[in-house]
């Protein structure tokens, strides 16, 4: 199973944009209002730096996946334990997005449809794509959906120029100050883009150099989109309304009105959002089940994917009963422990260990 750098670009940019469109803008705007874009920009920069570190780690371990090189570098026990944090993270992410999709479709389109049916349709699709070829099928889908997806998502930001007032982001900085801006960044940056998936995906890349470039550009495109979206949201609705919007990107598509004639283009937006979410979910499901297969030593990752999806379904349905589980974005366990661990601590640790190992090898050769 090999994917090209071009395909990686689409996969990374789609899955990052999906995550971006869903959570972080509201989390940042709550604290910073018209300075939300600064928080988003800072967060994006942090994420770009993390992506860069992770790419270094990947480059040091070209022929292994995350599970294998963690075992190599940290020893079997510690490696396996630390990898489980990534598994948990991916699982939480999947459940958040699955829940997001079903709730959103119930809210705006299918008011009567039982949630389980929407859920089943989506989950069936991602299991199907696993059996049809895993990462190869996913990457081909991403290649086809990607251009339309990115085009639509960028173009919709500039479709309501008559509603925009550039002065709405003023005054810059003074109202919120560093305290609030950093708070906004802290709460939101974990949800902006998701570099952790490349630790697994890089192994499947055909040409490592073009792959690194694809991943970096994919992340950058998603970053740029997030920043522009925040700005255009602020221009269109002003800081106070932005801070209250739960699905901000959807709300601005509803405000699009071209010459009072083309309105309500949200139908297009929802379609592509669901398609993008499909890419995101299947990528994460693939790396999760492949990783689990390596972790357990049970080679049939397709079967593991099925089991994972069943667990996911149970979890999502359960989380609609226990509301607390569903709204965990601001929990301190996640922000204070899990995210710093998987985004900052472990990658840096791996990078340092990898470099030491590399140096040692060099010196022993001499």
């Amino acid at each position: 199973m090999k994917v090209s750098g071009y395909q990686l670009f689409w996969m990374i940019s789609i899955s990052s944009i999906i995550l971006f469109s869903y959570v972080p803008i509201k989390l940042a705007a709550e604290h910073t209002f018209q300075d939300a874009w600064i928080s988003i920009f800072l967060g994006g920069m942090i994420m770009m730096a993390i992506t860069w570190i992770m790419l270094q780690v990947c480059n040091q371990n070209k022929d292994k996946t995350l599970v294998e090189f963690m075992k190599d570098l940290l020893g079997t026990f510690l490696g396996k334990t630390l990898v489980t944090f990534y598994f948990i993270h991916w699982f939480i992410q999947m459940s958040t997005i699955t829940r997001g999709i079903t709730e959103f479709q119930n809210l705006v389109l299918l008011h009567e449809m039982p949630m389980t049916i929407i859920l089943l349709c989506m989950l069936f699709l991602i299991v199907y794509v696993m059996f049809k070829g895993g990462i190869i099928a996913i990457s081909r889908c991403a290649e086809v959906i990607g251009p339309f997806f990115i085009f639509l998502y960028f173009i919709q930001l500039i479709l309501s120029p008559q509603e925009m007032d550039l002065n709405r982001i003023l005054p810059v900085f003074v109202d919120s100050g560093w305290g609030n801006i950093l708070k906004g960044t802290l709460y939101s940056f974990n949800y902006m883009i998701d570099p952790s998936i490349i630790l697994m995906l890089f192994f499947f890349a055909e040409n490592k150099r073009t792959a690194a470039r694809g991943i970096f550009w994919g992340t950058a495109v998603a970053m740029l989109w997030g920043l522009l979206t925040t700005l255009s949201l602020l221009f269109i609705t002003g800081p106070n309304i932005t801070a209250e919007m739960v699905v901000p990107v959807y709300s601005i598509t509803k405000l699009v009105s071209i010459l009072d004639f083309i309105q309500n283009i949200d139908a297009l937006y929802i379609t592509f959002w669901v398609l993008g979410a499909f890419i995101k979910l299947s990528v994460v499901l693939f790396i999760l089940s492949y990783g689990l297969a390596e972790w357990t030593g049970y080679r049939n990752w397709k079967l593991i994917a099925c089991v994972t999806v069943l667990v996911l379904m149970a979890f999502v349905i359960y989380s609609t009963y226990d509301i607390r589980i569903g709204y965990e974005f601001k929990t301190m366990y996640l922000i204070g422990f899990l995210y710093p661990m998987i985004y900052i601590f472990v990658p840096i640790l791996l990078w340092v260990l990898g470099s030491i190992k590399h140096l040692r090898k060099l010196s022993s050769v001499k």
Partner: protein, 388 residues
Amino acid sequence: MRRRIIFTFISFFLLILASGCENFVEPNQLAFVIGTALDHDESGVIEVSHQIVIPSQISGSEGGGSSSGSESFIVLSAKGKDIIEANRKIQRKMSRRLMENHRILIALSEELFEKHDVSQLFDKLNRDPANNLRDITIMIKGGNARDFLMQGHPMDHLSSVAAGKEMKLSRMSKFTSKQLAIDILSDGYRPLIPVFNVEEIQVSSNKKQSIGLLSGFAVMNKDLKVSGILDDVEGSEAAWMAGKRTFQGITIPWKDGKGALSFRFSRLKRQIHSVKGEDPNHIILTVKAQAYLLENTTPLDLYEVENIVEVQKYLNEQVQKELQQTVDKVQELGPDVFGIGEHLHREFPYWWKSQKDEWDDNFKETNVTVKAKIRIRSLGTSGKRFSK
């Protein structure tokens, strides 16, 4: 072969699921709400009225050409603690499902503003994805908003369509409920809401009809209570100065009292500056526009360049004088509908932090000078007026 058949069936099943056929509502099962009115009720709750089109009547009378006879809409009302409760009660009276996506007008009565916290009502507009926030919000003076909806209009079937068209004609696209929500939420802006009232006019030799028409603008204070009402000329001047560009034109008598000049304005803009950029208590409000001469009953020959310069100068003086009067009047009323506070917020953010709570009082003391920069773009197609 068998596999292919099974596959086809499964795909069709999925197609039906995917297209949401399961809870599809045909257009002929929907009731299109075009206008909504909100009133205060004696018992302390609110009364919601929906103006709903009757599609069959609309197509019928358009073909026949006679608007007499049956009405093309109905107005249904119900009371409730909030909008949704009333909506449910209205729904009970309907054979079709209410659909609010295409609403163009929300009318609120003056009494409602007095006795309720109107900003609460906007929660529903933003929470429910069925609303697009493009609908225009107006206030109905003297009377029920429900009665306004019940008025027909000689030109249009529905009063809300007529009011919507009237607003569009006078370039009032800036008075949407989205804009109102933004104004309500910001610290340095007080809302300006168009006011309609019902007047009886002679429409033909033997027929009088009462129609709703734009009669002015309400100046609202921080708590969304009416501080005062400007008439339509002052109001549209205020809207121009608030950056909501609605002003239509002006007629000025010429200096010696002989004749008058009428202009149409386009490309309305306004800018706010503080003197030297450092004194927040002295504001210069600059309005800009391009003027088109429409009528000239003075003896001036406007083919002469000296005369044009003279007219432009005089026009600016006159506009400046009139707008200054409007500003003084608004300052007397209190609320800052021009958004000067928001400008100061942006220009002097640190100063504003200490001032924003007392802004309503300080605005009255602020020295606001109006400057007009109007350029004459066109004199029409004739030089001097026709005279012997």
